[in-house]
Point group: C2
């Protein structure tokens, strides 16, 4: 039995997240249907992560088992002819049978993209949060550094449950600007539900002087979701890298 | 009576071109409805150009007449709250009463965008033609230079009619590459129906060695649409600048 690992990208606008849904179209439904058609047997894929409705992936990893002997390059070419324009396999390769896309994941990088044009960029709609007010990128970057390290991120979890372990390690958190596009880039060993979107929303609170940059440690210590900013919309979020 | 000139941008994916349609939604329908709602009286706009279904505009100019005394900055802010995310007014200003967006236009710049990634960029779908095979940009640029000048462009007109005057002047025609994105940039005093899309399709014929770069003058002299390349799809085309 071969275990094949795939790196793919998708624009999430049309999908109810990655994970297979019964009554809605998720990326997993579309990918499994295409793989099953290409390989002639029913395929179930293991994704590296769930993503929310509307979230995008520059790089999403998955693996699946098959008896099929198709070379990986042919698999990529073949599947891309069956997939819709908003999903593409970037590469595929054989991996050891014990490899598991989710359990073996050592960390991920997410990007939250903000269109900081005064007037919205019509080509970024659905692909970035439009925020037309001034953003002091240096101040936001200073604020972002307070998220780095091993912390209890209860305050930044969409569905915090006191029984859950909300301790995660953020390796880096940077805010950069290129023309009118602001990127919040977060690397970590794992993320709670909506955590990156709440980090983005909290940085926007800093931009709006609702919270000083130095207030972020206080938010973390408070372990109370209500102390952090709003959850920023899904359509600005990209899964960018996955580490194994 | 004020005559107000507007520069706007739109992503054409959802629209049946710019020009008002009876049984389909065109950009003009949406803009006129929003202006009429904002200004409280029925507004008809004069566009600088028709564009085809799916064609985009980085910069589209229009003008309209109104008795309303709204300052132009407020007009821009107000209308952008009423317009959908894929249409935006960039600026507006009062112009002399005799100004006409179409008749006074001295020239335009179009860009044809090609995603030359081997595997499609999912974020460029609907926004660029995906062409996965090698493109020799220097060779295409040399070929493009043959379009420059005053020529009879009958061979590059989608609906050539022998009675029409098909003489136009192309000021510049350049092919450049930035990462995997190839741009064909064409400046001219006016363009025939589908002319830029046929220029792009003809350059792709050059890339595929169906036509040598030096064969372009022969195509122009032939005055026969069948000698040129295919009409490239609408979704790669952008109206980029309008000159007055």
């Amino acid at each position: 039995m071969r275990n094949i690992k795939v790196i793919m990208s998708y624009r999430g606008t049309a999908y109810h997240g990655f994970q297979r849904q019964e009554n809605a179209v998720a990326v997993q439904n579309v990918v499994e249907d295409a793989l099953s058609e290409l390989l002639g047997s029913e395929i179930t894929v293991i994704g590296c992560s769930r993503t929310d409705t509307g979230v995008h992936a520059n790089e999403f990893h998955l693996n699946f088992f098959t008896d099929c002997c198709i070379p990986c390059d042919n698999l990529v070419r073949g599947i891309n002819n069956l997939l819709p324009d908003d999903i593409a396999f970037l590469s595929a390769g054989d991996v050891p049978e014990e490899f598991h896309s989710r359990f073996d994941c050592k960390g991920k990088e997410y990007i939250y993209l903000i269109d900081n044009s005064v007037i919205r960029n019509v080509f970024a709609s659905g692909l970035a949060l439009h925020y037309p007010y001034p953003l002091d990128v240096n101040e936001l970057d200073r604020a972002a550094k307070h998220f780095v390290g091993t912390h209890d991120f209860t305050s930044l979890c969409g569905t915090a449950n006191l029984k859950d372990n909300c301790i995660r390690t953020i390796f880096s958190c940077d805010v950069i600007k290129n023309k009118n596009m602001v990127k919040v880039i977060v690397n970590g060993d794992g993320f709670l539900y909506n955590m990156i979107r709440i980090i983005a929303g909290t940085l926007i609170y800093v931009a709006e002087n609702k919270i000083p940059a130095s207030g972020i440690p206080v938010i973390l210590e408070g372990k109370d979701r209500r102390k952090a900013g709003k959850t920023a919309p899904a359509h600005g979020l990209y899964l960018n890298k996955v580490y194994y």
